[in-house]
Symmetry: C2
Subunit: 233 residues, 2 copies
DNA sequence: TCGCGCCACATTGGATCCAATCAACATTTT
DNA sequence: AAAATGTTGATTGGATCCAATGTGGCGCGA
């Protein structure tokens, strides 16, 4: 079942097929399970148990742990084990503000370079997003949402910034998914995405930038509010 | 010799002593050697050789590799090994612009919160920087420079942003060190640091922010120019 | 002589085994 | 009875061993 992703075939990538080692595949699977909330913050991840579950030795698990630790998803204490890392609502808000900062800068660079193909691709993702929304698959919704932002900003051709953004998204993703279960943030997000795309088509930088900033920051505020009220964190 | 850092004793941290596992210590040592340019971009790192050198088995080396890979310092191809990752001048410039973006935002938050103690601490680091400069130890210069920026921005109390900044600095650090060998960028940097601190003392946000931005961006431009002229990258 | 394929070696990837450390429980002592 | 301490079980950390894969060299044939 999890084996299906031992090789990630990304069709849009130009023939650069990448093979995953077992530790990398494990890390991918564990990452997904953490983001889905199957492993709660603070929970201990035991090497032996996971090794048994994935039917491999403990060593690939250990290497996967190192990777996840570097990504900030888990923390490991020597001779004590690995624990799903936690993050405070304030820190989540800070990450959203960082995202706003970086994405606005990227959009500024991207808008002048956008082509018709870019708009079409973005529109396509939005369609997919809407389809997924009606079926309540928020695991896919989160990654599609990230994909939309990434695609929208890709004309800026700033790989390093995109990379950093990916890291930030990774940190907040699990809380976003949780919130989606509780609120109706989908719908406003869908509308805002459409409006954002309209502004970009019109090359209206003056409006698009603050709009994007607001889109991100209000999403952040809503999420943090939900976190603080639920007290489950 | 490298054993001296198996436990990192940071005296300013309040008694929170952290123990390093062998892989972590190895990663720290290898990271330093990469930043120092001992391992050139593209160069292959062989597990067996390093294991012999550090007198341990290959396994801790492999785990250290995973960590360094996640940090972006090396790339590993399955069944082919680990290679010191490279980075183009354009990407370096992008990272500097990202740094400018984030640091300016941080400074904006930091200035109103700065206390006398903060100014003193910064001034102290600047003194240390000057002392190190006269003795041409650029390995320490780089980390002290980062420490100054970190200390200057720490009143903002934005741990996540600082963390991201650390990652960005890691990427450009090795090129900064190389450039320092070639240019006289020390001196202007020292002056600019002093001036920046003066502006912060005066709480002159209007001047301090653009000044910091310029400080970072010109440093970036000079570095990139040096990179492109030397063609050693 | 050049090109293709096969084979051996070197290197990485993964599994098993042993040692070190921690935590919890039981025992003893005050 | 409470606290301190010893001891045992569980879990992680590290080393050695075996398997898989990639690379370079050699030979064979056109």
């Amino acid at each position: 079942m999890w084996r299906e992703m031992t090789t990630v075939g990304n069709p849009s990538e130009k023939h650069k097929l990448q093979r995953l080692s077992l530790p990398e595949a494990l890390a991918a699977s564990l990452r997904e399970r953490i983001l889905n909330g199957e492993f709660q913050p603070g929970e201990a991840l035991v090497q032996e148990a996971l090794a048994a579950e994935y039917e491999c030795s403990r060593m690939p698990v250990r290497e996967a742990f190192r990777q996840l630790e570097a990504e900030g998803l888990i923390e490991t204490k020597v001779h004590k084990g690995a624990f799903v890392s936690s993050i405070s609502p304030d820190e989540v808000m800070e990450l959203f503000e960082l995202r706003a900062l970086i994405e606005c800068d990227l959009l500024l660079h991207a808008i002048p370079k956008m082509t018709a193909a870019d708009f079409i691709a973005c529109q396509e993702i939005l369609g997919e997003l809407e389809r997924v929304y009606t079926e309540r698959e928020m695991a896919r919704w989160g990654s599609l949402n990230a994909a939309f932002h990434r695609r929208l900003l890709s004309p800026a051709e700033r790989g390093q910034s995109i990379l950093i953004l990916g890291g930030i998204n990774l940190q907040v993703e699990r809380f976003v998914r949780l919130q989606l279960l509780l609120t109706e943030a989908f719908e406003t997000a869908a509308l805002e995405h459409q409006q954002l795309l309209v502004l970009c088509r019109a090359r209206d930088v003056e409006q698009a930038i603050p709009y994007l900033r607001d889109h991100i920051l209000t999403a952040g505020r809503e999420l943090v509010a939900a976190m603080k009220s639920k007290r489950k964190f």
